[in-house]
Symmetry: C3
Amino acid sequence: MSGPLRLDEIATRVGGVVHGDGALVIRGVATLERAGPEDLSFFMNPRYRKAAAASRAGAILARVGSGLAGRTWLESADPHLALARILDAFHPRPVWVPGVSERASVAGSARLGTEVTVGPFAVIEDAVEIGDRAVVAAGAYVGAGSRIGAETVIFPRSVLYPGTLVGRRCLIHAGVVLGADGFGFATADGRHHKVPQVGRVVIEDDVEIGANTTVDRAMLGETVVGEGTKIDDLVMVAHGVRLGRGCLIAAQCGIAGSSRLGDRVTLAGQAGVSGHLEIAPGTIVASKAAVYGDVEKGGMIAGIPATEHVRWKRSQALVARLPEIWAELRGLRRRVGNLEERTQ
Amino acid sequence: MSGPLRLDEIATRVGGVVHGDGALVIRGVATLERAGPEDLSFFMNPRYRKAAAASRAGAILARVGSGLAGRTWLESADPHLALARILDAFHPRPVWVPGVSERASVAGSARLGTEVTVGPFAVIEDAVEIGDRAVVAAGAYVGAGSRIGAETVIFPRSVLYPGTLVGRRCLIHAGVVLGADGFGFATADGRHHKVPQVGRVVIEDDVEIGANTTVDRAMLGETVVGEGTKIDDLVMVAHGVRLGRGCLIAAQCGIAGSSRLGDRVTLAGQAGVSGHLEIAPGTIVASKAAVYGDVEKGGMIAGIPATEHVRWKRSQALVARLPEIWAELRGLRRRVGNLEERTQ
Amino acid sequence: MSGPLRLDEIATRVGGVVHGDGALVIRGVATLERAGPEDLSFFMNPRYRKAAAASRAGAILARVGSGLAGRTWLESADPHLALARILDAFHPRPVWVPGVSERASVAGSARLGTEVTVGPFAVIEDAVEIGDRAVVAAGAYVGAGSRIGAETVIFPRSVLYPGTLVGRRCLIHAGVVLGADGFGFATADGRHHKVPQVGRVVIEDDVEIGANTTVDRAMLGETVVGEGTKIDDLVMVAHGVRLGRGCLIAAQCGIAGSSRLGDRVTLAGQAGVSGHLEIAPGTIVASKAAVYGDVEKGGMIAGIPATEHVRWKRSQALVARLPEIWAELRGLRRRVGNLEERTQ
């Protein structure tokens, strides 16, 4: 599909139900604040109920049961997914013009698939293999022996150290560094001797990695980012880490050396995981948490050190009340002292 | 003005009062440790009182009432601002030689103002507009349709994704990435489907952004950094965030999607703000804090979760004393047990 | 030495003792999981005892007294150091082919030593000096007046602002930014006026700096990273900081302006140090900790604010038990109330 589209056509394609004027022609998608009468907007977070009511949007996409009385709206069991599809329709993905820039530096021994794009000042070193329709954008660097899967995009100025493997349909954003040396030293006689980092980085299919994130190469073996895992900006994945499939790693998280995250683990922003740990599939780590031990069953954990989220919340509520608790304790001490005197 | 300058001339220009030898000729500005008899140094933080006393500096700039007895010093109501002006005088800003490097890649449809500098290996894509006297330094990448205001400097290797707007007199340091995709996915059937990020990034006038910071494009609409806001290194500004005017965001802070910071908000180092929040103008968030809820009035907040700073400090002092509190509680329990026996 | 090697030869060279078959020919080094009968593997962390027992490795390097009964193993007093040497033997460091790429931009006034490597699209500005056998890899930027010592490698896309000094045998990984402006502003009339940052960055010999780390230039004087210090990825070293010799700074740490770390200080991941502090030599700061005050004697500190590690651990254990403590306190209050009634 491609815009403009009638609202009922959109509903059919994304599997939703129209309340109100299904014949309305939608010409764009916009935020609640900016949408006009020919735009579709969306309302998923209850924080924005007022904004939804005040919006000039012609139609609003919302969750089942949102009850936007008196408005034309599109009811969806999964409005996030519906929105993703609608945006795809109205905003086709940018097209990369295939071809190798004359201003790129491509080694003679590199093998490029069909319809590959290589931007100006990109560098592709010896024995690199690049899949069909893949993109190595302006100024990106692909070290010797690396392999990039079909339809993957390496955005401007990202760097793949030698021997890095990136799967198919990945998005590696600007400034990402894959395969730099892990942080490994043997300290003797007061000096830190470098432990050679001779492993590599393997990024499986359908992974997205945000701007300026770093994934270090393993000392030996591989640092692995599992299929379908999505990583935000400024994340640090250390040497020898294995991220499972379908993980979500929010911005500025750090995962120390050799830890293994199961499938579908979520780390919220600025969380940290110590080295050599195992985190069970499906675990959710709250933002700012520090995981210092293995996590054997999933569930949500929080705090420094991380513990069960519900328990952490209760403890923190009491930390906030410590001044009252302390006052209470001093009061009791006095009363006990009085009792002791009285009963001597 | 430009150095060398007599101390009393400096005083006149920055609005200060000389104590001691106003005729002293100042040839440079230096730290307390390195300054010699023809240098001006400065003393603003009481931690450095000893260093100030020991300094060989010919003159010392200091706050009103600093009482540097027996020394030649320059008393100022605002020594930070005076120092900024004095440094400007003695160290003129680096000059960028206008001209477009033959080794840059500039699209024919790009429009460049007068006296623009474009460094080697910079890439300027289709329909970009660059204001007068702006600089796109070596290896920087400016995506299609971006606009850069007059006198702005894009430092080496920074990346502007397509459609990014940067105002006038901005400094965008090396490695900064503006406009990479926000972290947005709709999870269905165990897979994370990308929600297209079709908004853009708008950096208003007089903004400075530190090295390797990332500002993601909005899903829809704009991610905005308000006029005069200053951002340090390695900060993450997520999709749809709005930073007000005159904010100060220290290094390694993260602001999650769609949050709005009012004018003059300060985030100290490594602080985090969750998504979809409103932070009142003038709020100060302590380093390492995690803001999990709206902040309705200004003031200083701290902790994980963030709470009133004074309250946080009191609670943390008691956390440190928990071993004693626990011992006290056990003692009381024993005494109450004794009392109960005795009064049976 | 270079592989393949007999196990007893390896033992002689790294100073270890063979238990079992010293004549075994070792052809490679691998992780416990991947090693085969002609590989050496290693076992240092007790977490991996089971993996060591199950490994198909021909030989295992381990600490004195590891007691790998029934296996061929190499006993070492310092297995980390031994491993570093063995890896060096089996995986010779990558060789950089000397020569200046025709596609680099090198100022006429730059002085290059012998056997220097300059990659494509690297930029070397006026009056830069580069020592013998140093490498400025593809797309790296070396600002005017910078100096790079012999045998140092500047990896792809890293940026040295003008006037930066880097010593000998350093490794500056991809995306690193040295010498961007420190975060210094004088606020007056609601506006943040830039305090010119006219100092520089000095990286001493044998320093390694991880991918996308930033070290800002000093306002005046120098930001210094001491000899032999190793810095991980995404670390922020602010203006005027001095790191001593032999420090270890793990990923995503931040050190605020003008703080001074003594020799051999360790910061674990995501730790932060406030500005203008002095940290004693040998101090170990736990991950996620926030150092808000001077540290006068070494030892390990943890927490926000950071305190003695042992004490922090005890307090945190009690924080986790606060719900029980609170219940206990309420129980006592009741009992005391009862006692008071009874003894009226």
